[in-house]
Symmetry: C2
Subunit: 500 residues, 2 copies
């Protein structure tokens, strides 16, 4: 008889494009989202957690970011239990953002929800895309939207909230700027240029403007007219406008002046007699006034027509939060940290369900980028501190050690007893090191008899080991012998000294 | 030419078995998980967030709860991009619990993780099951596990942590009990009875014991022997043991005495000379000692062999947290709230990946049940309080109203300006009502001129409206006229008076 072949062991790996998050990666993010939720709540926004799974029908195809090569979702076909002939049911999919589910929720529950409906949502979204370095198929989004009002007060409020949020999580004033633009002003410019609506010329101009951040004023001028050589030496065709025709677009993009009233004057010049352009400028003026009334000056939020991100997607005001402090990129060059959040006003999101257009405006925070920024600023995730480790010198006295950690925890101190094999004491200290423990507590038989414990300052110990030649360090004790009754107080004292 | 038919509008519904969570449902849960994470962190546990998507291969089929009719997962086949001939790739699935991913993560990262590895995880899981009333296909789990140690100190620590957790989220001591049993003791009983290992007799006894909570001592006795009539009148066959044979099982289940040393004496009687049984009792004794050393007495954690939940799944200690206060069930009968958490020691979870058995112990909190319990205790989700609503009396003075909400928010008060159509003032008050607003602020042209604002106490107003005949209420003003400069102070005073 042939031997039965054993099934091979399963591979312990995440699916391609997915990853796990450990320790401070998880708790730092949770803490940041907790702080953001606090600000949103203070602004009257209500939490919403929609299901991660939607019908493909409800989800639709509304990925705003058209640059992505593959706008796929993770989808599967439901098995229909009522049909015994093996008929399959609806297609379901994981949500790819938090906006499409908001549209579904608002359409479904609009009679029960207040109007306007202010809601925030935080959670993972999934994209069935080719993964790349730093690009995962599951990531967090954090959105706030106001549905059901065309009032510019809703847009102004979201800008103010974004400013408050950044300061609350730890980006100081002066290190960020919320910049506001308006798609209607651009439409006015295109109208003033005599470019017809619909597919074609306007879209070409929009696509070109989108490169403003990358290629700058001269680049956009070339691309709007005859074209240009790109960095690789390839020739990029131009849109074919004359220099004169291109001028209003460039005037729009560069209209920002030191004085906001001068900015508006420039914009009025760029849109000429266009009604939609005038409307856009009036909207920006309203937002400016409302923000000024709330005490939000140009040091926090400014009107800036050079904001191009999202102009192709949004229908009215567009906002972006940029972090203005400098970091070194992977090539060692200094550059601004850049955008961590964007948003704007959009229409027709709910219309596909109900037939009625519902005005809405909202903002999305790039959770991972903001976390990275906070790490850059040293506001988060320096040396993540592990627990105080109570070592086990005598396996039979586990109860004594358990009593110690209970005392420490009751005093609010993070602490654990070593639970591995206690035979080799060196392993216990290696474990404490792997855990980033600030302190190890030791109580052998002798100490027990004398009613004392040894407390080892591991952070100081590491410093001494690093700079063993420095007399200054050598003379500082990193291990203390204290009466058992003083355990908690001494640990607290050392932790305070470590600034933990 | 035929008219082009428009595609029908998509239905705005969640897929069957899924639901949305609104407002306090979301924020109460987030707050509770935040508190729980705090306790776990203090105990030295590290956060882990694994991906929601796993390969079906890694996930395996390890649903612990064998009573579920359909242990399905939501799965789909990956498209293999490297194969242009339409070949499909791996099967992927949404995780159905947090334990299977822990096994995969530990196997994958074991060289980088500390040993033992204490981790907690919180998040949604998905089950492709027939939905029912109150039973959804996406729900939250909240787990803590210690992987890589056989020490009973790990089990004791988890029981202590569970006790601390319940008190931290708002279940007072005396309203809960963590009960501990041990599968090995039961194995000892079965061994003492002479029941052979492997499929068959022992499994039948285990399945019968599982009904102890439902049918009680007499019911289990009948089911172990000749069988019994169930409530519907159907005859349920018995396991076929003699009365004498059934006795040790019943002695085990009812061995709990007022004095824990008496409980242990009873258990020793039930297991007789069985080595495994003796081991189980020694483990329980160790857990008891360690907990006593940490100050956890029988008012919080007790050894109780009548805990049967999980005995079939776990391999050593088994724990369960029960809420002991009484509630009224849907039929108006008083009953104990019951279990909100369970766990125990399990082996071989990692073995399917690595071939090596790794001991582990852990606990899972029923997030939704614990939230329901907190609501029962009035610790959460009474009248969820909405924001202060600043009404709009004059559309052109939106900036004034914006300044008011900014002042209120800067003072930490939840506030919003009315953003709907302000024409009908009644609609603004209806909106405030829908938002559960505690206060409405009113500043019309006259007030503006006089430098005052009207502040309406909506909660008091509602009380007056409810009991309009009571002179007491009538005489109390529910609307106040205060100088504009006193807005924040007066709102704060009213909120404090409302106990908000």
């Amino acid at each position: 008889m042939a031997k039965q072949k054993k099934a091979p062991r399963p591979k312990a790996i995440t699916p391609k494009g997915f990853r796990d998050y450990f320790g401070a990666e998880v708790s730092d993010r949770a803490e940041m989202l907790h702080q953001i939720a606090g600000v949103y709540h203070r602004y009257g926004f209500e939490a919403l957690e929609s299901s991660a799974v939607e019908t493909v029908e409800a989800l639709g195809k509304f990925l705003p970011d058209v640059d992505r090569p593959n706008e796929g979702v993770f989808a599967w076909q439901e098995f229909d239990e009522n049909d015994t002939e093996g008929k399959r049911g609806d297609w379901m999919a994981l949500r790819y953002d938090l906006t499409a589910p908001l549209a579904r929720v608002y359409a479904q529950h609009r009679n029960d929800l207040p109007t306007p409906y202010r809601r925030y949502a935080m959670g993972p979204v999934w994209r069935n895309e080719k993964p790349g370095p730093g690009r995962y198929r599951q990531f967090y989004q954090c959105d706030a939207d106001t549905v059901g009002t065309a009032s510019m007060a809703a847009d102004a409020e979201i800008c103010a909230m974004l400013s408050d949020t950044l300061e609350t999580v730890g980006i100081p004033r002066g290190d960020y700027l919320v910049r506001v633009n308006n798609r209607k002003v651009l439409n006015g410019v295109l109208e003033a240029m005599g470019l017809p609506e619909g597919e074609g010329a306007r879209d070409n101009v929009l696509r070109t403007i989108d490169k403003f951040d990358k290629v700058g004023e001269a680049g956009v001028r070339a691309l709007l007219t005859k074209g240009r050589l790109d960095a690789s030496g390839a020739y990029i065709d131009g849109v074919g406008l004359s220099e004169d025709q291109a001028e209003p677009v460039l005037a729009f993009l560069t209209s920002k002046a030191d004085d906001v009233s001068k900015t508006f004057e420039n914009l009025r010049g760029a849109v000429g007699a266009s009604a939609i352009g005038g409307e856009g400028i009036a909207e920006l003026e309203q937002i400016g006034e409302l923000l000024a009334a709330g005490g939000y000056g140009a040091d926090r939020i400014e009107i800036d027509p050079s904001v191009v991100r999202g102009l192709g997607y949004y229908t009215g005001p567009v906002f972006e939060a940029e972090l203005t402090f400098e970091i070194f990129d992977e090539k060692g060059r200094k550059r601004q940290f850049g955008s961590v959040s964007g948003g704007g006003r959009y229409d027709d999101l709910v219309k596909r369900f109900t037939g009625q257009a519902v005005p809405a405006t909202g903002v999305s925070i790039g959770v991972d980028r903001l976390l990275a920024a906070l790490r850059e600023k040293g506001r988060m995730g320096g040396r993540a501190t592990g627990p105080v480790v109570v070592t086990v010198m005598d396996r039979d006295r586990m109860a004594d050690y358990q009593a110690m950690v209970a005392e420490l925890r009751n005093a609010g101190i993070r602490a654990e007893v070593y639970l591995g094999n206690p035979k080799n004491f060196g392993n216990q200290l290696k474990y404490a090191d792997k855990r980033n423990s600030p302190i190890a507590v030791i109580e052998g038989g002798d100490e027990k008899e004398q009613g004392i414990v040894q407390i080892k300052d591991l952070i100081l110990g590491a410093k001494i080991a690093e700079s063993a030649t420095l007399e200054e360090w050598k003379e500082r004790p990193s291990q203390f012998e204290v009466p058992r009754g003083d355990l908690v107080a001494k640990v607290r004292e050392i932790l305070d000294g470590q600034g933990v």
